[in-house]
C-alpha cells in the first residue's frame, strides 16, 4: 500500500529533475533566428504556422515508430505502409461523403472527417496487429532479419494497396470549411494548418498523459528502460508490445490521413516518401524518445518551411544538415534513451 502511494510522488520528482529544457528551447530559437532571415513578419508567421503544422503531422506519423523501437527494439522499415493505408482508408470514406464535404459548414465537415479519420486509425491499427503477429514476432532480437522482413512487408503491402485500391493516384479534396485561409494581421494562415496543429497538440498531450499519468504508461516506460525486469515483476510484456504496436500503427494511420488531406492526394508511395523525414526526426529526437520525437518533428517542420522559402533547392538537404549538427552535439539524439 505504502509503495503504491509513494510511487507517483517519486515519479513526479524524477520527472522534474530529468526535464532537459535545452532541446525544447531549440524550437523557439530556430523560429526567432529565421525571423531576420525571412525579413517580413507576416511571411514569417505564415511559414512558422506551416512549419508547426507539418511538424505536428510528422510527429503523429513518427511517434509510433520511435515508441515501438524504444519498447521492442524493432525498427519498422515498413512504417510507411501504415501511413499509406491510413490515407487510403480516409480517402475511401471521404469520397463516399461528398455531400457533407461540400455543405460548407464545419459541423457537416466534421461529420465526414471524423469517420474518415477513425477508419484510417482502425485500418492502420489492424494492419499493425497483423504485422506484429505474423511478420515481426518471429524475428525479435535479430536486427538484420527485422530490417529485411519489414522491407519485404513493405514491398508486399505496397503491391496489395495497388491490388485493392488500384495503381492510380486518388485525388482527395479537402472538406470545404477547412480549405482556404484567414487573415491574421497581415499574415495569411491556412485553416487546415491550424487544425493540424490542434490535432497534433491534442495527440501529444494525450500521449504524454497516458505515458506519464497512467499505470499502462508507467509499464511502457519501464519496459523501455528494462523489459526483462518488467516481465519478472509479472507483467505480460508481449501484450504491451502488441498494444503499443497497434497504437503506433494507428497513430501513423491518423498522421497519414491528415497528411493526405494536406497534400490533397493519395498514392501508395506516399508513406515511403515521408519515411526518410520520419527517420531523420526519430534519429534527431533520440531513438525511443517520444518527447525527443516531438521536438525533432517541430525542428524538421520549421526548418523545411524556412529553407523552402529562403533556398528552395536545399529543403531536404537542410534536414540532413540539421541531423548532422544535432548528432555532432548529442551523438545519440536530443533525448537519449537507455539502450539506443
Amino acid at each position: 500500500m505504502t509503495m503504491q502511494a509513494a510511487a507517483p510522488d517519486a515519479n513526479r520528482i524524477i520527472a522534474r529533475i530529468a526535464v532537459d529544457w535545452i532541446p525544447l528551447a531549440l524550437v523557439p530559437v530556430l523560429a526567432l533566428a529565421a525571423l531576420p532571415l525571412v525579413g517580413s513578419a507576416p511571411t514569417w508567421v505564415t511559414l512558422t504556422v506551416a512549419g508547426l503544422a507539418m511538424g505536428m503531422m510528422i510527429f503523429m506519423m513518427a511517434s509510433g515508430l520511435t515508441l515501438v523501437f524504444g519498447l521492442m527494439d524493432v525498427m519498422n522499415f515498413a512504417h510507411g505502409i501504415f501511413i499509406s493505408v491510413g490515407a487510403y482508408g480516409a480517402a475511401t470514406v471521404l469520397t463516399r461523403m461528398r455531400p457533407q464535404m461540400e455543405a460548407g459548414s464545419l459541423a457537416a465537415d466534421l461529420s465526414a472527417m471524423i469517420p474518415a479519420v477513425l477508419a484510417a486509425i482502425a485500418l492502420a491499427g489492424l494492419l499493425g496487429w497483423f504485422f506484429e503477429r505474423v511478420l515481426i514476432r518471429p524475428v525479435y532480437g535479430d536486427h538484420l532479419k527485422q530490417i529485411l522482413i519489414t522491407m519485404g512487408g513493405l514491398i508486399v503491402f505496397e503491391q496489395l494497396i495497388h491490388v485493392v485500391w488500384g495503381a492510380d493516384m486518388i485525388p482527395l479534396p479537402r472538406p470545404s470549411a477547412i480549405t482556404g485561409a484567414f487573415i491574421l494581421g497581415e499574415a495569411a494562415i491556412e485553416r487546415y494548418r491550424v487544425l493540424a496543429v490542434i490535432v497534433g497538440l491534442a495527440v501529444f498531450a494525450a500521449m504524454w498523459l497516458l505515458l506519464n499519468r497512467t499505470r499502462i504508461g508507467l509499464l511502457v516506460r519501464a519496459g523501455v528502460e528494462n523489459p526483462e525486469m518488467v516481465e519478472s515483476l509479472g507483467y505480460r510484456i508481449r501484450r504491451l508490445f502488441v498494444g503499443v504496436f497497434v497504437a503506433g500503427s494507428g497513430l501513423a494511420g491518423l498522421g497519414g490521413a491528415m497528411w493526405a488531406m494536406y497534400q490533397e492526394q493519395v498514392t501508395a508511395q506516399m508513406g515511403m516518401q515521408v519515411l526518410v523525414v520520419i527517420f531523420i526526426v526519430v534519429i534527431i529526437g533520440g531513438l525511443g524518445s517520444v518527447g525527443g520525437c516531438f521536438v525533432g518533428a517541430m525542428l524538421v517542420g520549421l526548418m523545411a518551411n524556412y529553407t523552402g522559402y529562403l533556398a528552395p533547392k536545399l529543403a531536404l538537404g537542410s534536414n540532413i544538415l540539421l541531423m548532422v549538427l544535432i548528432l555532432l552535439w548529442r551523438p545519440r539524439g536530443l533525448y537519449a534513451i537507455g539502450k539506443a
Binding site: F69, M75, F77, L135, P138, V139, H143, L144, K145, Q146, I147, L148, I149, M151, G152, G153, L154, I155, V156, Q159, L160, H162, V163, V164, A167, M272, L275, V276, F279, I280, V282, I283, L287, K313, L316, G317, I320, M323
Partner: protein, 350 residues
C-alpha cells in the same frame, strides 16, 4: 586454373553448377544465341545486376550490414560517365575521366559514411544510409544543369561503341559497336565478379564472416571491426560504381529512374535474398531470375490474369504489374525459412 579463377569456392552442388554454367554460356554467347534488341538488353541487364548484387552481398551477406545507399554508388558510376561524356564529348579520354572521377567520389563517400556511422548498430547505419541516399537523389534532380534533372542525360559513346559502327560479320551476326559494348559490359562484370569471389575467400573475407557471426568475439580476437567494415563498405561501393559505369555505357543514358531510385534498392534486396545471402553465386541466380521475371513473368501473368477475368480481386492479384507482389512474398518466405536462398537449398540437396 579453374581453382584459381573461382578462388577455390566451387558451387558445391551439381544442379547449381549446371545452372551457373548455363547462365554463363547464355550470357557469353547472348548476341549469337538470342539475336534481337530486347533479349540483348535483358542479357546486359543481367550482367550488370549480377555485379551490383554481388557487391551488395559483400555487405549484407558476408559482413552483415544493411545499407540503403547502394543505389547511390550505382548512380555515382552512371552519372560520372554520363556527365563526363555529355559535357566533354564522346571520346575515350572523357570516358576514362568519368570512370576515374566516379570511382574516386564513391571511395571518398563510402569511406566517410563508413567511418562516421559503422561504429553504431546495424539499424542506425541502415537509417543513416537511407537518409543519405534520399539526399543524393534530391541532389541529382535539383542540380539539373549538371545531371539533367528528372530527364537524365543521354550521351554519345566513342566511335567504336556506336551501334552504327560495323566491324565485320561473324556466323551471320553483324559485329557492330553494340556488340562490342555488350562484351565490355559482360567481361567487365565477369572480371569484377571473380575479383569479389576472391575477396570473400581471402583471409580478409573470413574476418568479415566472423564479424557477421559474432562481432564481439571478433573484436576480442584483436580485429578492428570498424576498419574491416569500412573496407568492406568501400569495396562494395566500388563494385556498385563499376556496375553503374557499365550500365551507363550499355544504355548510353543515365537518369534517376535507372540508377538512383529506391525501387532499384528494393530490387537489389530481393535479388540478394532470393538468390542466397552470403553466397556470391546467389547473386548470379538472384539477378538472373529477377531480371527474367521482370521481363517475361509479366507476359505469363497477363495470360493468367486474362484467364481469370470474371472473378473478383483475383485478376488484380495476377495483374502483370503486380509481379513484384509475388517476388515480395518469396522474399519474406526466404528470410524466414531458407536464409541462404536458392543456393543454400540447392547445396543442401547436393
Amino acid at each position: 586454373m579453374l581453382n584459381q579463377l573461382l578462388s577455390a569456392d566451387f558451387p558445391r552442388s551439381r544442379a547449381l553448377s549446371v545452372v551457373l554454367v548455363a547462365i554463363l554460356v547464355a550470357l557469353a554467347l547472348a548476341p549469337f544465341i538470342f539475336p534481337g534488341t530486347r533479349s540483348l538488353n535483358v542479357a546486359a541487364k543481367v550482367a550488370v545486376f549480377v555485379l551490383l548484387v554481388a557487391s551488395y552481398d559483400l555487405l549484407l551477406g558476408y559482413t552483415g550490414i544493411v545499407s540503403f545507399a547502394h543505389t547511390m554508388f550505382f548512380g555515382i558510376g552512371g552519372y560520372g560517365v554520363g556527365i563526363a561524356m555529355a559535357k566533354l564529348g564522346p571520346g575515350w579520354g572523357a570516358l576514362a575521366l568519368g570512370t576515374g572521377t566516379a570511382l574516386a567520389a564513391s571511395l571518398a563517400i563510402a569511406l566517410a559514411i563508413g567511418l562516421l556511422s559503422l561504429r553504431v548498430r546495424a539499424i542506425f547505419f541502415a537509417m543513416i544510409t537511407l537518409a543519405v541516399a534520399a539526399f543524393f537523389q534530391i541532389l541529382a534532380s535539383q542540380l539539373s544543369g549538371l545531371t539533367g534533372g528528372e530527364d537524365g542525360l543521354t550521351f554519345r559513346l566513342p566511335e567504336l561503341l556506336r551501334p552504327g559502327t560495323v566491324l565485320f560479320n561473324l556466323f551471320g551476326v553483324e559485329v557492330n559497336g553494340r556488340l562490342v559494348s555488350y562484351y565490355i559490359v559482360f567481361f567487365g562484370a565477369l572480371a569484377l565478379f571473380l575479383a569479389l569471389l576472391r575477396v570473400v575467400n581471402s583471409p580478409f573475407g573470413r574476418v568479415l564472416l566472423s564479424i557477421r557471426e559474432n562481432e564481439f568475439r571478433s573484436e576480442a580476437l584483436g580485429y578492428r571491426i570498424v576498419t574491416y567494415r569500412t573496407v568492406a563498405n568501400c569495396l562494395a561501393a566500388l563494385g556498385a560504381t563499376v556496375a553503374g559505369i557499365l550500365y551507363a555505357i550499355w544504355l548510353r543514358y543515365t537518369g534517376p529512374d535507372t540508377t538512383l531510385s529506391f525501387n532499384i534498392m528494393i530490387d537489389i534486396l530481393l535479388m540478394v535474398v532470393i538468390g542466397g545471402m552470403g553466397t556470391m553465386y546467389g547473386s548470379v541466380l538472384g539477378a538472373t531470375l529477377f531480371v527474367l521475371a521482370q521481363n517475361y513473368l509479366r507476359d505469363l501473368m497477363k495470360l493468367a490474369s486474362d484467364g481469370l477475368a470474371g472473378m473478383p480481386l483475383l485478376p488484380n492479384l495476377l495483374h502483370p504489374d503486380r509481379w513484384l507482389l509475388w517476388l515480395g512474398v518469396l522474399f519474406i518466405l526466404c528470410v524466414y525459412y531458407f536464409p541462404t536462398g536458392i543456393v543454400g537449398k540447392l547445396r543442401a540437396r547436393r
